[in-house]
């Protein structure tokens, strides 16, 4: 029988620097056939292994139409810091995809509100790219993205493309600006972008990803302006050891973040992220 815990080898095909601590890696399974059969939904994640160091859960940050798998990784600990040292042509272990993606099917025909904080934009980029190529399937697209400083933002070189997506709006904000950093956008938490927000609750879904405190806050605000619990979707983070609902580390009340999530309707997890 197949062993879900055993990684497969993958090759780093390309690397883009996002900011001082974050890079996007383009990956391909070493086994071409395996790669061919591989597909995913935006919002799903992979378990990446550096043997001898460990394994970490990382979202796929692009769409299957791109062919190769992209993942955008911030170096914070053992595995991610070591991944940062990888060069083109290096190999790592990979298994997945795991978890539920963003509710793209349900979102068809609706207005989409994306709210991302920091690294939270990584799993949402696939959604943006999907909407961009299937533009007519969706209503208005609004992206609100906040980071601690301009230097912490990711995908900045793609903002220009996103501005050009039809029927869309991109609003950027930062918590603060270190001296000498150019910045023309807003200053303030993501919720400070709410007054200017265009998306109304009717026929809309909100997809939210970022630090858990930020999501808690955002979800509450969205509720006050009329979004229903089942119109809000959050992508959660836990320190996963298996990715397949066995190791227990990502338990959230009766749910596993890895297999019942990481994307959850707010309704399902509301009592548990406060916090349990």
């Amino acid at each position: 029988m197949s062993n879900d815990l055993k990684p497969h080898m993958a090759i780093v095909k390309d690397i883009t620097i996002e900011n001082s601590n974050t890079k996007t890696y383009v990956l391909e399974f070493a086994d071409k056939q395996q790669h061919k059969n591989f597909t995913w939904d935006p919002g799903q994640f992979m378990m990446l292994s550096l043997f001898g160091v460990g394994e970490a859960a990382l979202s796929i940050s692009n769409i299957p139409e791109d062919g190769l798998i992209s993942t955008t990784i911030r170096a914070v600990g053992n595995v991610t810091k070591k991944i940062k040292e990888l060069k083109k042509g290096d190999t790592l272990g990979m298994r997945g995809p795991y978890g539920t993606g963003w509710p793209i099917k349900e979102a068809k025909g609706k207005n989409i509100l994306l709210i991302a904080g920091g690294m939270g934009l990584a799993p949402l980029r696939g959604v943006i790219n999907h909407i961009a190529i299937k533009r007519n399937n969706f209503g208005h697209l609004e992206i609100i993205y906040g980071a601690r400083t301009p230097n912490d933002m990711i995908f900045t070189n793609q903002f220009r493309d996103w501005y050009q997506i039809e029927k869309s709006r991109l609003d950027l904000t930062v918590d603060g600006i270190p001296p000498g950093t150019p910045w023309e956008g807003k200053i303030g938490l993501v919720t400070s972008c709410f007054p200017a927000m265009k998306t109304r609750p009717q026929n809309s879904v909100a997809l939210v990803c970022g630090p858990e405190v930020m999501m808690r806050f955002v979800a509450k605000c969205l509720e006050t302006i009329g979004f229903k619990e089942n119109q809000i979707f959050l992508s959660l983070e836990r320190r996963m050891k298996c990715g397949i609902g066995k190791c227990g580390h990502c338990q959230l009340g009766p749910k596993y973040v890895c297999k019942d999530g990481p994307v959850f309707p707010y309704r399902d997890i509301k009592p548990y992220i406060n916090p349990l």
Partner: protein, 253 residues
């Protein structure tokens, strides 16, 4: 050939047991020499360099003004400074004397105390920044290897912070507290030893120091229920790690 990372091994106030534990790596000692270059180890070598070192393993606590200066020097010359064993971490057993007036301790041993200038004994972290902590009296060989390996790989070592009870149960031992009514320190002590003592029918004495976030007051209450006196409880916490903030409350002033 690529230059091997250099290691320095230093001794301050302690018993050399940690260095011995390193020497006791007999099976892999020669393999270790394949990957590192030990350039300072007075207990084993006559020719020692003045550094710098990629990894410095420092054994022993700091108990004289001279030692304070020396540890600062070593810090300057070390990339990764490891507090090697309980003495270097928090003073270990010799720190019991910190509760005795220094003069009284000196007079107990020396008739002429004018040439003795010891201070309180403290871990090296009191004076310099420490990069890694190898708990234990002595640290288990596996942990020593783990620290050397992860220093070489530049990753955080996997050292246990959870209680000895975890390793004790992984070994299928019946708990000594409940089965024999013995005052085991396992529930507040950091694992890493492999639960040697409870596996051999001896209570954990706490030689790895506090675990992460121990509930010392509840354990002290367990001991009280067993009939141990306040003095006994103080002695138990004032042994290997009495100086740590975690044990300080139960160790008394």
């Amino acid at each position: 050939m690529k230059k091997k990372p250099t290691i320095g091994i230093f001794k301050f106030t302690g018993c050399a047991g940690c260095q011995l534990e390193l020497l006791h790596l007999e099976d892999v000692f020669i393999n270790l020499l394949d990957i590192v270059d030990i350039t300072y180890w007075v207990m084993v070598k006559r020719e020692n360099t003045e550094g710098p070192w990629d990894i410095s393993l420092v054994e022993g606590g700091i108990s004289t003004p001279e030692e304070i200066e020396e540890i600062k020097e070593i810090r300057k010359k070390s990339k990764i400074l490891v507090a090697f064993g309980d003495c270097a971490v928090n003073g270990c057993i010799p720190s019991i004397r910190n509760w005795i007036p220094q003069m009284e301790a000196e007079q107990c041993v020396y008739s002429d105390t004018s040439s003795i200038h010891s201070t309180k004994i403290l871990g090296i972290g009191e004076y310099v920044k420490v990069d890694m902590v190898l708990k234990g009296c002595p640290p288990h060989r596996e942990n020593i290897i783990e620290v050397i390996k992860s220093s070489l790989l530049n990753i955080r070592p996997r050292l246990r912070q959870h209680p000895v009870c975890m390793e004790c149960k992984l070994k299928d031992n019946a708990c000594l507290i409940i089965s024999k009514n013995l005052p085991c320190m396992g529930p507040v002590t950091s694992a890493g030893c492999g639960a040697i003592c409870p596996s051999l029918n001896r209570i954990c004495e706490g030689c790895y120091g506090p675990m992460s976030n121990p509930n010392t007051s509840a354990l002290a209450d367990v001991f009280r229920k067993m009939g141990y006196s306040e003095e006994d409880i103080k002695r138990k916490f004032r042994k290997y790690a009495g100086m740590t903030p975690e044990f300080r409350k139960e160790a008394g002033d």
